[in-house]
Amino acid sequence: MTEPLLRTENLQKSFGALRATDDVSLDLRPGEIHALIGPNGAGKSTLIKQIAGGLAPDAGRVVFDGQDVTALSTVARARAGLGRTFQISALAMEYTVLQNAMLGALGQAGSVWRFFRPVMGDSALRLRAEQALERVGLETLVTQRTAELSHGQRRLLEVAVALTLRPRAFLMDEPMAGLGTDGSQTLTAFLDDLRREAPILLVEHDMDAVFALADRISVLVYGRIIATGTAAEIRANKEVREAYLGEEAGV
């Protein structure tokens, strides 16, 4: 078995009496898509925040590429190679699509401390930004203001910005939300290939996408992981069917 690139060890997080993350240990191995599913309020976003930074766990560790990153900031984790997309788009809304992608490329290149040359004239950054936009199919919208994008287009831009970072692992929080059937099929195909570049920890509500893509699935209920396994194993798991899938029609 390959060494996992990213893993959490016994993560704990409580808000008052609520145990939002309860002894969560999961890992992400090179080349795989590991989907994290669970009903609303199961604590998926809380868990992602602890992995990406921005929310400190009460106990437990986050290990990325053999290094304990639990105490590192969001910024340091991004530098280390964690590429995150947000459930609620976190983009610079006044910027054009290209500017948002340029920002990612700039962050990755680490060349932000330049105060004089126009950034849009930096052909290397620009090329990388444009390539990322092209990969998600936003190349016709480069001059569009981000605030004017549709919800689904913003999700794609989130993915494109993450691509410009050339991360070693992706953390994607519901990238399919708002995409519509065609859009989510296209993105599903894209992520299917993307896993060869870097593994993806995927939080997703779109069960078709999850079962089509995931090498492994973990099911989070009330902050606990009740099962981890392949799509077939999860489908067959009695506990999962009772706790969660039973309520979602037709799976």
Partner: protein, 327 residues
């Protein structure tokens, strides 16, 4: 050229045209007013780097304006009394040379901004506003209570400082100095806004989480912006003190901070040339309304209130016919 671009050009040209016309009509007072507009606009350009680009509502920029003023006052007063600033461990003499004074002002302003910014930027929002205001007030009271440089009464210098090859006592030549510095600052601020740093800084204003996620620290971006902003405002302060040949704690007061902010707002938030329009309008109002009533600040307050409540684009926004979309 876009309408806003034309307006910018017109605004920019307005100052030297006014000063030139005043020269031909032999109205030195008007030249001095144009100089004042250029210097106050420069202070506004400085604040705008923090406020417009970085979204940092600093209500303490008078601190840097005043530090620039005192850099001038202290160096020049030592030079005119032929006493060194310090003798041990090494000798530092006063100076009457503008370029040296500017350099000292810029460095002092940058260092003060580094210290104040490093603390204030640990917080955001309302805390940041209150803390910058408080630190500004700290320097104000320090200047009042420190007796060596005039305390509450301030410092006067007898003769305006010199610039190699120019007669700075001639109003038009001093105007030229202030205007060239303003032009350089506008050019530099424009480059800064379009630079890699500017892209990241403005992104941090719009969405700090996004900037963190691409591996950039909003705190560092903002701190650097704050330091640049403080340095430019300090340069304006040194010029302002030279214009008046006087510096006092008033330059450090919270009203001054508010006025520098007003220049930006009257002109239009988020516009490079906003401070030029705003400072010009401010001085114009001061002299037109000030001539009509001793209580012209009431009208200024009403105007400001109307601009904030109903015309966020300010003067340039009104002229260009659209509001600037901006937080």
């Amino acid at each position: 050229m876009s309408r806003a671009g034309l307006i910018n050009l017109a605004l920019f040209a307005m100052l030297p045209l006014t000063a030139g016309a005043a020269l031909m009509l032999d109205e030195p007072f008007i030249i001095t007013l144009a100089t004042k507009v250029a210097i106050l606009a420069l202070a506004g350009v400085g604040l705008n780097i923090a406020l417009g680009l970085g979204g940092l509502v600093s209500l303490g920029h008078a601190a840097f304006f005043g530090i620039g003023g005192y850099a001038m006052g202290i160096l020049a007063s030592h030079a005119q009394s032929f006493t060194p600033l310090m003798q041990a461990p090494f000798l530092i003499e006063g100076t009457k040379s503008m370029p040296v004074i500017w350099l000292v002002a810029v460095i002092a302003g940058a260092l003060a901004a580094l210290a104040i910014g490093a603390l204030s930027l640990r917080t955001t929002g309302v805390y940041f506003i209150m803390i910058t205001l408080a630190f500004g007030q700290m320097l104000y009271y320090f200047a009042i209570s420190w007796p060596a440089y005039g305390g509450e009464d301030g410092l006067s210098i007898w003769v305006r400082n010199g610039f190699p090859g120019l007669n700075t006592l001639d109003p038009i030549q001093f105007f030229a100095i202030a205007f060239v510095l303003l032009a350089l600052a506008l050019w530099g601020a424009g480059r800064l806004a379009a630079s890699p740093f500017g892209l990241a800084l403005q992104a941090a204003r719009q969405n700090a989480e996004r900037v963190e996620t691409v591996g950039l620290s909003p705190y560092r971006l903002r701190l650097v912006a704050f330091v640049i902003s403080g340095a430019v405002t300090a340069l304006a302060g040194a010029l302002f003190a030279d214009l008046n040949r006087f510096v006092s704690p008033t330059m450090l007061s919270w009203q001054m901070s508010g006025e520098i902010m007003i220049f930006i707002i009257l002109g239009g938030v988020g516009r490079l040339y906003g401070p030029v329009a705003g400072a010009a309008l401010f001085i114009l109002l001061e002299h037109v309304l000030g001539g009509l009533s001793d209580f012209w600040h009431v009208y200024l307050g009403l105007l400001l209130l109307l601009v904030v409540l109903f015309a966020r684009g300010g003067l340039i926004g009104a002229l260009a016919g659209r509001e600037v979309a901006h937080d």
